[in-house]
C-alpha cells in the first residue's frame, strides 16, 4: 500500500510522518513518535487506555487512523504537565490516590480533561458518564470521581 505523508501536532510539537495509511493513531503516537504514555488495553475500542484529545475531543486512538488526524492538534498525557508543573488533574489524582497500577491512568486523565473542558461544572453523574468508556481494574473509580470533582470545584487552580 502506498505510504502517505501526514502532519500531526502532538503536545505542541509538529511531526511529519511518512506512513502506511493503515497505521492507527495510537501506533503513530507510540511506535513512531515514541510517546509511550498512551496505552493500549484491547483491540475493540472498549477499554479507553488509548484515549487522547484530538482538536479538543476525547478520542480512542486505537479506533482512528493516523491519517484521519492529519493536520490536527493532539494532546497526550505527556502534554498535561508544563515545565515540571503538574496539571490540576494530575495533582488531584495524586492527592486522592486515583490510580493504582497506573496503566489506565493516562487515558483516564485525558477523558477527565476532555470532560472538564467541555463541562467545567459537571454533576457526579456527568463525571461518571464522562469516564464510562475507560476501564480501571484497580481503583473502583470512586477515587477518580472524587479527584475530578475536586478539580471542578476549583481546589486545584492552574499554575
Amino acid at each position: 500500500m502506498e505510504k502517505r505523508l501526514i502532519h500531526l501536532n502532538v503536545n505542541g510539537e509538529d511531526y511529519e510522518l511518512y506512513i502506511n495509511p493503515k497505521t492507527l493513531l495510537v501506533e503513530a503516537i507510540r511506535d513512531i513518535i515514541g510517546l509511550t504514555g498512551t496505552k493500549r488495553g484491547c483491540e475493540s475500542g472498549s477499554c479507553g487506555a488509548c484515549t487522547v484529545i484530538v482538536d479538543g475531543m476525547s478520542v480512542k486512538s486505537c479506533s482512528v487512523l493516523a491519517v484521519q488526524a492529519d493536520g490536527k492538534k493532539i494532546l497526550t498525557v505527556e502534554g498535561l504537565e508544563q515545565n515540571g508543573k503538574l496539571h490540576p488533574l494530575q495533582r488531584a489524582f495524586l492527592d486522592y490516590g486515583s490510580f493504582q497500577c497506573g496503566f489506565c491512568t493516562p487515558g483516564m486523565l485525558m477523558s477527565a480533561k476532555a470532560l472538564l473542558d467541555e463541562n467545567p461544572n459537571p454533576t457526579k453523574e456527568e463525571i461518571k458518564e464522562g469516564i464510562d468508556g475507560n476501564i480501571c481494574r484497580c481503583t473502583g473509580y470512586n477515587s477518580i470521581i472524587r479527584a475530578i470533582e475536586a478539580v471542578a470545584k476549583g481546589q486545584y487552580k492552574e499554575g
Partner: protein, 755 residues
C-alpha cells in the same frame, strides 16, 4: 494507639508522579535495539494429539528469524509447586498433546509483528482430535477422556481438612441444612496484558523485562526450563499493569520470548492480545460446592461438612493452593466444633484455573454466608446475632489450622449493624445484605521450595542521610513500594521523601516471594522494619556517644531527629549523625539487613484480617435487574499503614468482587470461551459503581509490622455474598449460582412465580 509520625497519614503513592505523567515505563512500552517480535500459534482444539508440525513455508517467509515448537525446548513440565513433581505438569509449548483451546503450540520471531502474524498462517499443524471433557462432574466419571496420564478419574489434587467428629457433632444439631452451589470463573482482566521482552546475549546471560507479580519466581522458573543458572537470569519488572493473582506463574510471553531470544541472540518482545489474554492465561477457579451445616436451635454452629469439585482446567498452576484455601475459608470466620472438608481439583479440557484475588475464599464465603443467612431466617434469628454468636474472637485456635491473635470481627459487626439500623425501614424495592469475611496475611508453606527467606530487605543510608531501600516485594499497583517506604521511614525516623525504593529487579533486590496471598505488608513489611532497625542501631551507637544518655534504650530517631525519649528536648540532627557514623565506619555506607520467614504459625498464615460488609441494592421486581447503591465495609487490617493505599484496595476490591457477583461471566461452549473481549465480558464501569464507605477497626497484630496485617485480597471475599443476601431479602430468592446475572435472577423469579 501509638502516635506515629508517618504511618496512616496522607502519603502520596511514591510511584505516582511517574504514573500520572506517562513516564512510567511498563514492559508493554519497552523497545530494545535490534528487537524482534514474537507471536504464538495456539491450539484450536480442546484436546488433540499433535501428529506433525510443518513450519517449512513459514521459515521461508522473509523477515522470519526463528520458529520453535515444544521439541526445540528441554521439554520440562514446569509448575510453581516445585516441591511436588506430580504437580509440575505444564510444558508451556505443547509436547505431543494439547489440552485446551489456546494452548501454545508454535512460536515465531520476526522483524515485524505483521510478519510474525503472517508466518503463523503458514504453519501447518496436523492434529488427531481426541474426545474432550469440560466440567468436573463429567471428567471424574469412569471412562472419561484421560487428560494427563497417571491421574485416575482426572483428579489432579485432593485436599482434606478436618477437626472434631462431624458425624457425632451433627447428632447434637437441631437443624441441618444442605445446599449445592455452582460458582463460575472470573478473569483477571489486567489492563496490561501478559507481555515480556527477553534478551539473551553471547555471554550466556538472559535479561527479561516482564509484567509480573513475582520477579523472583519468574527468574527461578525460567532458569529451570531453559537450563540456565538462576543468577544468569535477570528479571526486571519496574511497573506491572495489574496482576490480581494472574501474573505470578511462568507464562507463555516470558517463556516464548526467552527461548526465541536464545535462538536468535536478539531481543524478542511478546505481547498477548486481549483475546489471547482471555483464552490462554488463567482464571479464578470455578467450583461446585456441596455444604451441609448443623446448628442448634439458639443458632450455635455445631458442625459443617463440605465437598468441593473444582474445575482445574488443563494444568495445575496455583490450583492446589486455591483448593486448600477454599476449604479453610469456608469455615471462616466462625467457630465450628467439628468441620470436615474434602476438595477435589479436576482436570478438564478448558483453560487452566488458578489464583485470583481472594484465592478460593470469595467462592467459599459466598456459599457459607448465604447458607448462614438462610439458616438464620428459618430459625428466626437475627443475622447479626447468629454471626456474633459464632464468630472468631481474639485468642481463638482453629483446631490444627490457625491461631488467631488480633480479631476485630465483633467490632466490625457492631459498626455494620449500626449502619444498617441507621437506614431505618427501606422502601419495598430496596434491600441490604451482609457478609462477614477474613483473609490470610501471606501463606506459610514453602511449596516453591525456596532456599531463601520469604521476604528480605536491605536499607542503605548514604552520606547525605538519604536512604535506598531494596526490596524483593513487587508493586503491582497495590502500592507496596509506598507501604514499605512508610514502614522504613517510621522505623528509621526519616520521612518518605528521604527514601528511594528499589524493587522489581532480581539482580539488585534481595529475593522475596512477591505479591500474592496478601503477604507483602506483613512479610516484606517485617523484613523492612528489621532492616531499618538494624541500620538505626548503627546510628544510635554514634548518637549514644554524642548524647551520653543514662540508658541506651532512651534513644530513638523520630522525624529526622535523634532524641532522648525521656528528655525529648534533647536531640541531635539525624543528618549529622549519619555523617559521623559513616566516617566512623571507614567510609562505608550504613547498611541494615532484614528478613522474615513465618515460623510455627499453623497451617495457613501468621495473621488474619477480618471484616463485615453491607451491600444495599435497588431492584426491579419485574425484570430482576439490580443496581448496587451502597457498599459499606467495617474492616480490621490491624494497624493501617498506607492510608490512601488501604482505601484504594477497599474500593477497588468492591468493583472486582461485585463484578464477580453479578457481571463477569465466562461462558464456554465445547471448551471455547464465548466472550474473549472487553465488549462482551462485562467488568464494572464508573456508572455502575456504588457509593463506598469504610469504617476502619484498628486492632494490633503482634505478628505484623507496627501491628499491621493484610488489606488486599480479603476485601474481595464478601461482596458477592452480601449481594446474594441482599437479593435474598429483596426477592426471597436463594441464588445458588454465581455470577447472579440479570438473566439468572429473572429465571429464578419466573420459577418462583410458577411455583
Amino acid at each position: 494507639m501509638k502516635n506515629y509520625v508517618v504511618i496512616n497519614t496522607h502519603i502520596h503513592n511514591i510511584d505516582g508522579i511517574a504514573k500520572v505523567t506517562g513516564r512510567a515505563q511498563y514492559t508493554f512500552d519497552i523497545t530494545l535495539p535490534n528487537m524482534l517480535y514474537g507471536k504464538i500459534l495456539r491450539s484450536p482444539h480442546p484436546h488433540a494429539r499433535i501428529i506433525d508440525i510443518d513450519v517449512s513455508k513459514a521459515e521461508r517467509l522473509p523477515g522470519v528469524k526463528a520458529i520453535v515448537t515444544g521439541k526445540d525446548t528441554l521439554g520440562i513440565k514446569q509448575g510453581i509447586w516445585r516441591r511436588y513433581k506430580e504437580l509440575c505438569d505444564e510444558p508451556i509449548l505443547a509436547i505431543e498433546k494439547v489440552r485446551y483451546i489456546g494452548e501454545p503450540v508454535v512460536a515465531v520471531a520476526a522483524t515485524r509483528e505483521e510478519i510474525a502474524e503472517e508466518a503463523l498462517d503458514l504453519i501447518e499443524v496436523k492434529y488427531e482430535v481426541l474426545p474432550a471433557v469440560f466440567e468436573p462432574p463429567e471428567a471424574i466419571k469412569k471412562g472419561a477422556p484421560v487428560i494427563h496420564e497417571g491421574f485416575e478419574r482426572n483428579i489432579n489434587v485432593t485436599r482434606h481438612i478436618e477437626w472434631g467428629d462431624v458425624d457425632e457433632a451433627m447428632k447434637e444439631a437441631d437443624y441441618i441444612r444442605e445446599d449445592w452451589f455452582r460458582i463460575d470463573g472470573q478473569h483477571h482482566v489486567c489492563m496490561e496484558t501478559r507481555c515480556a521482552v527477553s534478551s539473551y546475549t553471547p555471554d550466556g546471560k538472559l535479561l527479561v523485562y516482564t509484567s509480573t507479580q513475582a520477579p523472583y519466581y519468574i527468574q527461578v522458573l525460567l532458569a529451570w526450563v531453559l537450563g540456565l543458572k538462576e543468577s544468569d537470569v535477570r528479571v526486571i519488572s519496574k511497573y506491572t499493569g495489574g496482576g490480581f493473582g494472574g501474573k505470578f506463574e511462568l507464562d507463555a510471553a516470558q517463556f516464548v520470548s526467552a527461548i526465541l531470544s536464545m535462538k536468535t541472540y536478539r531481543p524478542v518482545k511478546v505481547v498477548f492480545s486481549r483475546e489471547e489474554d482471555f483464552i490462554a492465561s488463567k482464571r479464578r477457579t470455578p467450583m461446585y460446592y456441596y455444604t451441609r451445616t448443623g446448628v442448634k436451635k439458639d443458632g450455635t454452629f455445631v458442625a459443617r461438612e463440605t465437598r468441593v469439585l473444582t474445575n482445574g482446567g488443563a494444568y495445575t498452576g496455583m490450583g492446589a493452593t486455591a483448593l486448600y484455601l477454599t476449604g479453610f475459608f469456608h469455615s471462616f470466620p466462625y467457630k465450628w466444633k467439628a468441620y470436615r472438608y474434602d476438595g477435589f481439583r479436576v482436570y478438564t479440557n478448558t483453560m487452566p484455573s488458578s489464583a485470583m484475588r481472594g484465592f478460593g475464599a470469595p467462592q467459599a464465603t459466598f456459599c457459607s454466608e448465604l447458607q448462614i443467612e438462610w439458616i438464620a431466617k428459618e430459625l428466626g434469628i437475627d443475622p447479626f446475632e447468629i454471626r456474633r454468636k459464632n464468630g472468631h474472637t481474639p485468642g481463638y485456635e482453629v483446631p490444627g489450622q490457625a491461631y488467631i491473635q488480633s480479631c476485630g470481627l465483633r467490632e466490625c459487626l457492631d459498626e455494620i449493624e449500626k449502619w444498617v439500623k441507621s437506614k431505618g425501614e427501606l422502601p419495598p424495592n430496596r434491600a441490604i445484605g451482609i457478609s462477614c469475611y477474613g483473609f490470610m496475611s501471606g501463606g506459610i508453606f514453602n511449596w516453591f521450595d525456596t532456599p531463601y527467606s520469604f521476604s528480605s530487605a536491605v536499607v542503605q543510608i548514604n552520606y547525605d542521610g538519604k536512604v535506598d531501600l531494596f526490596v524483593g516485594a513487587q508493586d503491582i499497583g497495590q502500592g507496596s513500594n509506598t507501604t514499605l517506604a512508610i514502614i522504613c521511614a517510621e522505623e528509621l525516623g526519616v520521612r518518605v521523601e528521604d527514601i528511594r525504593v528499589h524493587s522489581g529487579d532480581t539482580a539488585v533486590c534481595p529475593p522475596d516471594l512477591g505479591a500474592w496471598g496478601s503477604r507483602q505488608t506483613l512479610m516484606a513489611g517485617n523484613a523492612v522494619k528489621m532492616a531499618a532497625a538494624d541500620a538505626k542501631r548503627q546510628l544510635l551507637e554514634i548518637g549514644a556517644a554524642k548524647m551520653r544518655p543514662n540508658i541506651v534504650y532512651d534513644l530513638d530517631i523520630r522525624d529526622r531527629k535523634l532524641i532522648n525519649l525521656s528528655r525529648p528536648e534533647r536531640w541531635v540532627d539525624y543528618f549529622e549523625v549519619v555523617k559521623d557514623a559513616l566516617r566512623g565506619k571507614e567510609g562505608q555506607k550504613i547498611i541494615g539487613r532484614g528478613f522474615y520467614t513465618p515460623h510455627r504459625k499453623g497451617m495457613i498464615s501468621p495473621a488474619y484480617s477480618y471484616g463485615v460488609q453491607a451491600v444495599e441494592i435497588e431492584v426491579d421486581r419485574e425484570t430482576g435487574k439490580i443496581k448496587i447503591l451502597n457498599c459499606v465495609t467495617a474492616h480490621d487490617c490491624g494497624q493501617p499503614i498506607n492510608k490512601l493505599g488501604v482505601l484504594g484496595q477497599l474500593e477497588g476490591a468492591v468493583a472486582m468482587a461485585a463484578g464477580f457477583g453479578y457481571l463477569e461471566y465466562m461462558p464456554f461452549e465445547e471448551g471455547k470461551l464465548m466472550n474473549p473481549n472487553l465488549v462482551d465480558y462485562k467488568v464494572m464501569r464508573s456508572t455502575e459503581m456504588p457509593e463506598t464507605e469504610v469504617i476502619e477497626i484498628e486492632t494490633y497484630e503482634p505478628e505484623g509490622p507496627f501491628g499491621a496485617k493484610e488489606a488486599g485480597e480479603g476485601l474481595t471475599n464478601p461482596t458477592a455474598a452480601a449481594l446474594g443476601n441482599a437479593i435474598f431479602h429483596a426477592f426471597g430468592l436463594q441464588m445458588k449460582e454465581v455470577p447472579m446475572t440479570p438473566e439468572r435472577i429473572w429465571r429464578a423469579l419466573r420459577e418462583k412465580k410458577e411455583k
